[in-house]
């Protein structure tokens, strides 16, 4: 069967009275004059190019400041940074549709941000002050800058700064709590996607958050693999239970999402299907109590499938592979015990699938 065209879909919508007949022409006109959004990989290209340019221009502008002012007063870096950020806003607002000026403004904004943050850092001799200033600056860009790529980077930077503060405070559980928070916000954003995207004010921030937040969450959950501070085993029971807290939090988010789906599909909560789904969820989560990345990836996979986002599903699948590998490093048990756990869970999941689809007729 051929895939339906927009015409087929709108015919049906008119028939179901979801859309007045007169709107068809308006939609056709809107579609004819539309400039398509850049695909995700083209946006990555612009980020790669902008980063290379920003690093070069940062070096250039720092050297220029030194050249013009000799021993520059440190405030000049801050001042120069603010001026560049302002110029970036101005260029972007003046030439919203221009690709060249879009990339140019993005690079100028990046250089401005770097100069501003470095200036604050050097003049106060405090990393905390510099990152605090960076946090405020990113908030301003997120709220007002009319460019999606830079807003996406702002989300990532904000999460990275929060992680720094958590690590600096040696609050290990904070990483996992932040991951649960990001998971909950991601689920909410995708759940309310159509309404939030329909709002002019929230449109760009939400569009970028819907990909930046899950990506940040995955990066966050990989930290225990990279940073020895979060490695296991630990002598402190509280440290050992930190990933457990995250897994339980993520389980709640997944269960909430499943409940929404069941309601959407008119399946009662007391039904056999609900019971089977609950058992499946518990079994999928069982092996991952100390590797919360696995439920996080499952959550994003479910969201991606529901909303038909191949990018989100691809991201989740790639990180799922990484998290299964992470299992190798985690857990205060021997490799042998881990292997038993994984084999047992794998067999249970395959057995469950067999029972669900051969006997329970799901």
């Amino acid at each position: 069967m051929n895939a339906p065209t927009l015409g087929n879909v709108f015919d049906q919508l008119v028939e179901e009275q979801h859309l007045p007949e007169s709107d068809r022409e308006r939609i056709a006109a809107a579609l004819a004059g539309t400039r398509l959004n850049a695909p995700w990989f083209v946006q990555i290209l612009s980020v790669v190019g902008a980063w290379i340019a920003a690093i070069m221009l940062f070096a250039s502008s720092s050297a220029c400041v030194g050249l013009v002012l000799g021993e520059p007063p440190l405030e000049s870096l801050i001042f120069f940074g603010i001026v560049l950020c302002g110029i970036a806003f101005w260029i972007k607002l003046q030439a919203l549709e221009s690709v060249f000026f879009g990339v140019f403004a993005m690079v100028i904004a990046m250089v401005g941000q770097m100069l501003f943050v470095v200036g604050i850092g050097i003049s106060t001799e405090s990393i905390d002050a510099a990152l605090g200033a960076a946090l405020i600056l990113q908030g301003v860009f997120l709220a007002f800058y009319p460019g999606r790529v830079l807003r996406f980077l702002s989300w990532i930077t904000i999460v990275a700064i929060l992680v720094y503060f958590i690590v600096d405070a040696e609050f290990g559980a904070g990483i996992y709590l932040l991951a649960v928070l990001l998971a909950a916000v991601t689920a909410y954003v995708w759940l309310r996607n159509p309404v939030l995207l329909g709002e002019y004010r929230t449109k760009d921030a939400i569009r970028t958050a819907s990909y930046a937040l899950p990506l940040s969450m995955f990066a966050l959950l990989l930290i225990p693999l990279l940073n020895t501070e979060f490695e296991y085993p630990s002598n402190q029971a509280s440290d050992y239970h930190q990933p457990l807290i995250a897994a339980v939090g993520l389980l709640f988010v997944v269960v909430a999402l499943e409940a929404v789906q069941l309601r959407r599909l008119d399946i009662p909560l007391q039904s056999r299907e609900t019971l089977l789904l609950a058992i499946s969820t518990a079994l999928v989560f069982a092996p991952s109590l100390w590797t919360p990345g696995i439920p996080a990836a499952v959550l994003v996979l479910l969201l991606g499938y529901w909303r038909g986002s191949r990018v989100l599903m691809g991201m989740a699948a790639a990180f799922l592979c990484l998290f299964v590998a992470q299992f190798y490093f985690n857990l205060d048990t021997t490799l042998l015990v881990k292997s038993y756990m994984m084999m047992a869970t794998g067999l249970v999941l395959l057995g469950l699938r067999y029972v669900l689809f051969n006997y329970a007729q799901l």
Binding site: G7, I55, L350
Partner: protein
């Protein structure tokens, strides 16, 4: 002029209409369902089926690999082989029962292919043969070739490619290894595209050629950067490095021509553009001798980095603009 509504109702197009306030949130939700993008109860059930199967198989296989990686010495060598061979036989028996046309059969065949590697690794560990030797990867690849052919499944094919890449990476060294890796992945990519062109049913997935292209381009850009940054001593030590530029240009030119003229694919062209931005900045930087950064000559640093920054901006903007106009043109032709 053709009717703009006579195009496929993809999730991206529907989202674009919502984005432009052309339709309301409720209409968008219903439109997605009508276009087949809002999963029904049946679709969710199929998704759950696949997820349980893939996750279960992945965990089971990982568990088996961990078990043998732990070098458990409480069971004897013969018992280890017996356990592995039994698992292998069970997987093959399952494939024979289910066939290779269904996903469960393909997953079992993938499991069997990985178990062959575990068995070889265990034999290697038992008889003190290096597990990271090229012979190990080559033998593994050779033993599963038949299954890869009858499996007719992209991921199995990728496993084969990973093993061949590892064989090359562990046998050769220096730039020759990188050139061979480029050639290997480019050949595999061409084979896949011919398969797609000849409408081989299992060779239609687009993510496989993209993975191959990413590997080839990343390796070629790395090789090209080695070539640009090398000095005369490096060329004396590694004579093949002199051919790096040819390998890079042949790959980039081939990809650009093939995916612009023969089989339009914006992802592949974007990949080439990203490589070009990195390489061109490195070339111009080298020509301007950015070693001056080490000197105290602030004006040279200021000027050189300014030129490089502007070059990167110009190239990126030019490529993005060109790619977007191609995207617009190709989408309107669909």
């Amino acid at each position: 002029m053709s009717n703009p509504l006579d195009v496929r109702a993809t999730p991206e197009r529907l989202l674009m209409l919502l984005d432009q306030d052309a339709i309301s949130a409720e209409t968008w939700e219903r439109a997605r369902e009508l276009a087949g993008h809002g999963p029904t109860a049946k679709a969710w059930s199929r998704f759950l089926d696949r997820m349980l199967m893939l996750l279960g198989a992945a965990l089971l296989l990982s568990g088996i690999v961990f078990f043998f990686a732990s070098n458990w010495d409480r069971i004897g060598r013969l018992a280890e082989f017996a356990v592995l061979e039994t698992a292998l036989l069970l997987a093959v028996a399952f494939v024979a029962h289910e066939g290779t046309k269904v996903l469960s059969g393909k997953v079992a065949l993938m499991g069997a292919s990985i178990l062959v590697g575990v068995l070889l690794g265990d034999i290697g560990a038992s008889y003190n043969i290096q597990a990271d030797a090229p012979e190990f990867f080559l033998a593994w690849a050779a033993l599963i070739t038949g299954w890869v052919i009858i499996g007719e499944w992209g991921p199995l094919w990728l496993l084969m490619m990973a093993l061949l890449n590892l064989t090359v990476a562990t046998y050769w060294t220096d730039s020759l290894m990188l050139i061979l890796l480029i050639g290997l992945n480019a050949t595999a990519l061409a084979m896949w595209e011919f398969g797609d062109e000849w409408q081989v049913p299992w060779m239609t997935a687009r993510w496989i050629p993209r993975v191959l292209a990413v590997v080839a381009v990343v390796v070629s850009v790395g090789l090209m950067l080695m070539f640009i940054l090398a000095d005369s001593y490096d060329f004396e030590q590694d004579s093949t490095l002199a051919w790096a530029w040819l390998a890079y240009l042949a790959l980039t030119g081939g990809l650009a021509f093939g995916y612009y003229r023969v089989k339009p694919d914006l992802f592949m062209l974007t990949l080439c553009c990203a490589g070009l931005v990195i390489v061109s900045v490195a070339v111009v930087g080298k020509l301007m001798s950015w070693g001056d950064l080490e000197d105290d000559n602030l004006s040279t640093v200021c000027l050189n980095t300014l030129i490089l920054g502007l070059l990167a901006i110009g190239e990126t903007a030019g490529f993005v603009k060109g790619l977007m106009s191609l995207h617009q043109r190709w989408e309107s032709q669909q």
